[in-house]
């Protein structure tokens, strides 16, 4: 963001940089890599950078304004009060920065905030990332049993793949690859992650009825495209449709067989 000196001086005052003892030179240097920002975002960037530098006033301001929000976000993410508070508290070390660079300055998590979104939203995202990282770590710790379980399950059901089924898989993969990224995200969220329509709606900023219509539309289009691809691969239209239906029936049988095996075991 290259601005005339007068504007920089004005922003320096308006953003609270002066309040946190940020020099005009440092402020100008911070502005340079930033894109156009709303004034509210700029104030948040200044607060974050001042916290990263360890300014006590900035930290006081941050604690006063964001502590409870952090707890609320942590509790909402973990769905547990104790864990949520613990997750939120664990973030402060990263925000303050425990690692030290060669030049002696700390590496603060705040440095990565550049104000594309709100500071509150950024804190939520960082908390969510922390939570997922915990899951990853726990998954790694317990993955031995889990991997045995998964491998055993895979070994138990070596599904025979016919050339037709292979053709169907290839056609489906091709149709999925042709989809718009957002459509694929909707499908993955709905069919793979089993998220509700309203959850997907909130993820993408859409109403759940819009998501519902979109899921239906994408699914219908995919069916048509799969049949078209199978036809292009040499099957008649009727054979392609039958293959899709046959495979569907086979999948149902597989599920039933698997349940029956589990009951027997």
């Amino acid at each position: 963001m290259n601005l005339p000196a007068n504007d920089v001086a004005r922003l320096h005052t308006e953003s609270g940089a002066a309040q946190f003892a940020v020099s005009l030179e440092d402020f100008t240097a911070w502005l340079a890599p930033l894109g156009a920002l709303e004034s509210a975002r700029l104030s948040e960037v200044v607060l974050a950078r001042a916290c990263a530098r360890g300014n006590p006033l900035a930290w006081e301001h941050f604690i006063n304004h964001y502590r409870e929000k952090l707890y609320a976000a942590g509790i909402a993410i973990t769905r547990d009060e104790t864990r949520g508070r613990e997750l939120a508290d664990s973030l402060y070390a990263d925000l303050y920065g425990t690692r030290v660079q060669d030049n002696g300055s700390r590496i603060s998590k705040f440095d990565s905030f550049v104000g594309r979104g709100s500071l509150e939203g950024w804190l939520k995202s960082v908390l969510a990332q922390q939570q997922i990282n915990r899951f990853r770590r726990e998954r790694n710790l317990i993955s031995f049993d889990d991997s045995i379980e998964t491998a055993a399950a895979a070994a138990d059901s070596p599904l025979p793949v016919t050339s037709d089924q292979q053709a169907l898989a290839t056609a489906t993969d091709g149709a999925l690859a042709d989809l718009d990224a957002e459509d694929r995200l909707v499908l993955a969220s709905y069919y793979l992650d089993q998220r509700t329509l309203s959850e997907i709606g909130r993820m993408l900023g859409l109403h759940e009825s819009t998501v519902s219509r979109r899921v239906e539309k994408i699914t219908n289009r995919l069916r048509k495209q799969i049949v078209a691809r199978l036809t292009k691969a040499g099957l008649s239209r009727r054979a392609a449709e039958e293959l899709l239906e046959t495979d569907v029936r086979a999948l149902e049988i597989n599920v039933r067989e698997k349940l029956a095996q589990e009951r027997r075991a």
């Binding site: 979104g117 950024w122 939520k124 793979l192 589990e262």
Partner: protein, 338 residues
């Protein structure tokens, strides 16, 4: 459609496994996406990454779906919700009626010689108790035409008519050309009921789960039964039957920490940290221990989420696996292992 869904889930899983690894978007970008602040050209590559990255989808979902677990439904109409609006409305009605009666206005009335005596009156004191007069219903014959005349001062200024005659009597009067009066008792207002009920536990509404079943009546209204995990005391949950005013503790199993909870009607499912599932079909009076197993190895991972679908299907999640049962936990199918 369900099987086509399985085909899609299978191919999407394969695609996810073999997708070219692209760097995860940082928190700043995810926030901007969640807040709809990204330009389309910046948005597209992130959506493409999200479509193939389950962890980033999870993060985005956590960020955008961070509402408290249970929010009391707007459809619920409880006394707690209505106590102040009702009190204000009653006061406003009383004030309006008193003022209205103080000022002579043109009303549709009957000649003075046939004017009815007011039966439902409010005492001039501050008491809100309606005092019905124990007189029988009088129905008098009268010529069918009414005249518009000033209302006779039949009521002291400090008194007011609160309740009109019952509709059936009005109807009868219209049909037969008579004027009806009634001494039928009006509503009784209970001032003590407007006192605020005791405060709910601080975390009750934030972490409780409202039962959506018809536990109290067969009406369409939501039940006031609340369930809440009790993080302070392992192996217990808290319940409230009065919309969160009072809470009682239900001990489920003190040997394990309870992590997740789902309620539908009288049916309650609770997931524990050791993979054991607790199921009650009678609102928590009795509990069955459900061992989740795919037939070979029982689940021992923490159950982080339990969900009851409208069709009765129950889905549970651990950190790395998801399970589904359609027969109340007798058999389980492990789906989409990560």
């Amino acid at each position: 459609m369900a099987s086509f869904a399985k085909l899609l889930a299978d191919r999407l899983t394969q695609r996810q496994k073999h997708a070219a690894a692209t760097p995860h978007p940082d928190a700043d970008l995810l926030t901007a996406l969640a807040e709809n602040r990204l330009a389309p050209k910046d948005r597209r590559p992130i959506l493409a990454h999200l479509a193939d990255c389950v962890d980033c989808r999870e993060i985005l979902s956590l960020v955008t779906n961070d509402a408290p677990v249970a929010i009391p439904a707007q459809a619920s109409v409880s006394w707690r919700t209505l106590r102040w609006p009702l009190a204000i409305a009653a006061s406003a009605l009383l004030t309006f009626t008193v003022l209205h009666r103080q000022t002579p206005t043109n009303v549709i009335s009957i000649p003075p010689q046939l004017a009815p005596q007011p039966q439902l009156e409010v005492a001039p004191t501050a008491s809100l108790t309606v005092q019905p007069k124990p007189a029988p219903i009088h129905v008098r014959q009268k010529e069918p035409s009414f005249k518009i005349i000033p209302a006779p001062a039949v009521v002291p200024q400090s008194q007011a008519i609160l309740s009109p005659p019952p509709p059936e009597l009005e109807k009868q009067a219209v049909l037969s050309g008579t004027v009806a009066q009634t001494d039928s008792p009006g509503d009784r207002f209970l001032p003590q009921a407007t006192a605020p009920p005791p405060a709910a536990p601080a975390s009750a509404h934030s972490f409780g789960v409202r039962s959506l079943g018809l536990t109290k009546s067969k009406t369409a209204s939501l039940s006031n039964k609340f369930w809440s995990l009790d993080s302070a005391s392992p192996g217990t949950v808290r319940t409230s039957d009065d919309g969160g005013s009072h809470w009682s503790t239900v001990r489920v199993d003190s040997s394990t920490e309870l992590l997740s909870l789902a309620v539908a009607g009288r049916e309650v499912w609770i997931g524990s940290e050791h993979g054991t599932l607790f199921h009650s079909t009678d609102n928590g009076s009795h509990w069955n221990i459900i061992v989740v197993s795919d037939g070979a190895t029982p689940l021992t991972q923490p159950i982080t989420s339990v969900e009851i679908k409208p069709d009765g299907t129950v889905r549970i999640k651990t950190h790395s696996t998801r399970w589904i049962t359609t027969d109340n936990g007798r058999t389980w199918l492990k789906i989409s292992p990560r």
